[in-house]
């Protein structure tokens, strides 16, 4: 599998009805770099991430996934190299944390053993056999983030990843992000508070 080295967003425009949510946005995220997207509520941060993940078709502009060999097929690049963590956690409340975690990790290309190791790293080992509905907001968010560690993918699209987390967990996720960047990963995160790692910032005008 060829490694993703860069994501280029050029002249990205997204219209919502008659309202321009994003107008002509340009940026480039390289391997080993984190990019944070800031802006007021409703400015279009989530829409930008969803467009990068291929869930929203942009009205105009392009999102290119580039490897050393040149431009990659966007459909395959998204399916093989991209993690999206939105603010909805995607966990079925009636199933156990272990079932949901194992599914999410295996679905993204990891395996049950790596899922368990990831859960241990984020301190979730003790809650794995509880139903998801009994977990706190922070535990649920960490459970979703385990997927990032356990299934290796280059591009992380994160929508306010740290919001429900306590200080210790934020530091831990900062460490995880640092390791990911050191391994050639790319992080694009919509945030209100700065990430605990160095990142270049893009402002989405509201």
């Amino acid at each position: 599998m060829t490694a993703l080295t860069c994501v280029e967003v050029t002249d990205l425009t997204i219209l919502r009805g008659a309202r321009a949510l994003l107008g002509g946005l340009n940026f480039r995220a390289n391997a080993g770099e984190a990019t944070t997207i800031t802006g007021v509520n409703g400015a279009g941060k989530t829409s930008l991430l969803r467009a990068m993940a291929g869930l929203i078709r942009p009205t105009d502009g392009a999102i290119r996934f580039v490897s050393v060999q040149g431009e990659m097929d966007a459909y395959l690049a998204r399916r093989e190299h991209c993690h999206l963590v939105g603010h909805a956690d995607g966990l079925a409340p009636g199933r156990t944390a272990r079932e949901e975690l194992t599914f999410a990790v295996c679905w993204a290309g990891g395996d049950a053993a790596s899922a368990h190791d990831g859960a241990r790293r984020l301190g979730l080992e003790r809650v794995l056999d509880l139903p998801v509905r009994q977990l706190s907001a922070g535990q649920r968010r960490r459970l979703v983030l385990v997927r990032l560690i356990a299934a290796r993918r280059t591009l992380w699209l994160l929508d306010e990843p740290l919001t429900p987390l306590d200080a210790a967990s934020r530091a831990l996720i900062g460490e995880v992000m640092h390791d990911h960047l050191a391994g050639g990963g790319i992080i694009v995160a919509a945030v209100h508070d700065p990430l605990p790692i160095p990142a270049c910032s893009i402002m989405v005008p509201g």
């Binding site: 999206l84 995607g90 079925a92 679905w107």
Partner: protein
């Protein structure tokens, strides 16, 4: 292949547990057929004449019960984003969801159908045909119903809307299945209805995954 098995395992365990699962559908179906003798009267010849028809209307209505949950829960929790970014095309994901709906809903109904037909005085030797047509028709109900459920995704209170979208589309299998059974009961040629039912089901399985996936993409964007 591994992803397909993984997804099928998740979907069938979710379908089996959601909204009362198979017990709800079978209970509703049984309760509905029990009401017919009260409405029509206990005369055995009258009941046995309508046994097949009652069973088919009951199957169609019972299969509507948990349709709302097929996509809605995953849409609300955000799991549909995850499914859309997985290793399988969204069309395949949708087909697996419809198949899981059949396992948790259509298959148990197909097991229950012969008992209710017998209870209403249907011919005992028709039991196998009743179960087979109910199982095949149930597949069509699950796939067509899945398309209705996906179309109703972005609207609030989609449950009623799903019934309105789906019921007219369930009319052909009810006609084919009901005809096959009543023809069999009168010793006539039942194969035509049966073959048409199979054809409708195959067409539904081939076409509706594209409709489901399109509707899901539309709801996600």
């Amino acid at each position: 292949m591994r992803a397909l098995i993984l997804l099928f395992h998740r979907e069938s365990s979710l379908a089996w547990g959601r909204g009362g699962g198979p017990l709800l559908a079978v209970g509703f179906f049984a309760a509905m057929t029990v009401m017919f003798p009260f409405a029509i009267g206990p005369a055995p010849e009258r009941l046995s004449a309508v046994a097949g028809a009652v069973a088919w209307v009951g199957l169609a209505l019972a299969s509507l019960l948990s349709l709302e949950r097929v996509f809605e829960r995953d849409f609300d929790t955000g799991a549909l984003d995850l499914l859309a970014l997985g290793p399988l095309p969204l069309e395949v994901v949708c087909a697996v969801k419809a198949l899981a709906q059949w396992i948790a809903n259509g298959a148990p109904l197909a097991v229950a159908a012969p008992f209710t037909v017998m209870a209403l005085g249907g011919r005992p030797d028709s039991a196998f045909l009743v179960a087979a047509t109910a199982a095949i028709g149930g597949l069509a109900f699950a796939f067509v119903g899945g398309a209705g459920a996906a179309l109703a995704l972005a609207s609030r209170r989609g449950g009623v809307l799903i019934a309105l979208i789906v019921l007219p589309l369930l009319t052909p299998p009810v006609i084919f299945g009901g005809t096959a059974m009543s023809n069999f009961a009168f010793g006539l040629h039942w194969q035509t209805g049966f073959i048409l039912l199979c054809a409708y089901t195959l067409a539904a399985m081939a076409l509706t995954p594209f409709a489901m996936a399109g509707a899901c993409r539309n709801a996600l964007s």
